[in-house]
C-alpha cells in the first residue's frame, strides 16, 4: 500500500472516511488529501513520536551544555582593590560611573551620605538598560520598563526585574573610594 500518497479516489480503492459518509460528501480539505485515514494516522503519529524523541535529545544536549558551563566555565570575579573616585569628586546625592575592573560593563557609584557610598552594576537585570539613581527616593530606576531597585541593597522592588543588581564592595579610606570586589546577584 502506498502510504500517504495523493492518489485519485478510484472506486475500488477509495479510502474509508472516519464518519463513513461517501467521498463526495466529505469536506473539501479531506477530498484534497484522499489518503487511507487509518494507515495515515498510524504511520504519521509514529513518525511524530520519532521527531519528539529527537527533540528530546536536543534538549538534553542543551542541558548538558549548561551543566558543562556551570561546572567548568570560568567566572571572573574581580577582587583587586582599585581606587575609583575621590570622596570630594562625587557630591552628596550624586553619582559617577566607572569600570571595575578596567574594560568591564559600566558600574554606578552613588553617594548616599557624608561618607556613605553604594555601587552597583549599571545594567538593569531585566534587559540591560542603564539604571538611574533616585537618591531622594532611596531607589534606582530603570526607565526602559519602569523597573525599580532598592538603593541600599540593590534588590528589585517593582517592575519586570526579578534579580538584584550585582553589588560592588567598597572601602572609603583617606578621602578615596576603593572597589574591592563584586558580589554576584542572587537569583
Amino acid at each position: 500500500m502506498n502510504h500517504g500518497a495523493l492518489r485519485p479516489p478510484v472506486d475500488d480503492h477509495r479510502p474509508v472516511s472516519p464518519d463513513g459518509r461517501p467521498f463526495e460528501e466529505q469536506p473539501r480539505w479531506r477530498r484534497d488529501f484522499p489518503i487511507d485515514w487509518e494507515e495515515d494516522d498510524y504511520v504519521s503519529r509514529r513518525d511524530l513520536v520519532k521527531f519528539v524523541v529527537l527533540t528530546s535529545g536536543a534538549f538534553v544536549v542543551g542541558q548538558a551544555w549548561i551543566a558543562f558551563k556551570s561546572l567548568f566555565g570560568r567566572r571572573d570575579v574581580p577582587t583587586a582593590r582599585v581606587a575609583i573616585a575621590e570622596v570630594n569628586e562625587v557630591p552628596l546625592g550624586g553619582s559617577k560611573t566607572f569600570e571595575y575592573p578596567q574594560g568591564s560593563t559600566s558600574r554606578l557609584l552613588v553617594r548616599t551620605g557624608e561618607s556613605a557610598f553604594v555601587a552597583y552594576d549599571q545594567q538593569c537585570t531585566h534587559l540591560q538598560c542603564p539604571v538611574v539613581p533616585r537618591v531622594a527616593e532611596g531607589k534606582l530606576h530603570c526607565p526602559c520598563h519602569n523597573g525599580w531597585f532598592d538603593l541600599q541593597t540593590g534588590q528589585p522592588l517593582s517592575g519586570p526585574p526579578r534579580r538584584s543588581l550585582p553589588r560592588v564592595r567598597l572601602e572609603v579610606q583617606q578621602g578615596t573610594v576603593y572597589a574591592t570586589g563584586v558580589e554576584d546577584s542572587p537569583s
Binding site: V49, V52, F59, Q63, I66, A67
Partner: protein
C-alpha cells in the same frame, strides 16, 4: 479474521496515541526544565544545572523506551 485484525489495529492506535501524548508531555517538561535552568544559570545560580541535566536525561530515556516499545508493537 479481518474484524480481529481491525480490533488489534485499533488497540495499537490507542497505544500509539497514548505514547504520543505522553512523549509530548515529557518534552514540555524538558522545555520547562531548559528555560528554568537557563534563567538560573544566567542569574548566577550554578547549583541547578547538573540535577536538571540528569532529569532531562531521564526524560530522554523515557522517550527512547517509548519509541522502542512502539517499534516492538509491529
Amino acid at each position: 479474521m479481518t474484524r480481529r485484525k481491525r480490533i488489534a489495529h485499533s488497540k495499537r492506535m490507542t497505544i500509539v496515541n497514548g505514547a504520543l501524548v505522553f512523549s509530548i508531555l515529557v518534552i514540555v517538561l524538558q522545555l520547562w526544565l531548559l528555560t528554568a535552568t537557563m534563567n538560573a544559570f544566567l542569574g548566577g545560580d550554578m547549583t541547578t544545572a547538573v540535577p536538571a541535566a540528569l532529569a532531562s536525561l531521564a526524560c530522554l530515556s523515557v522517550n527512547l523506551w517509548l519509541l522502542r516499545y512502539l517499534y516492538r508493537l509491529d
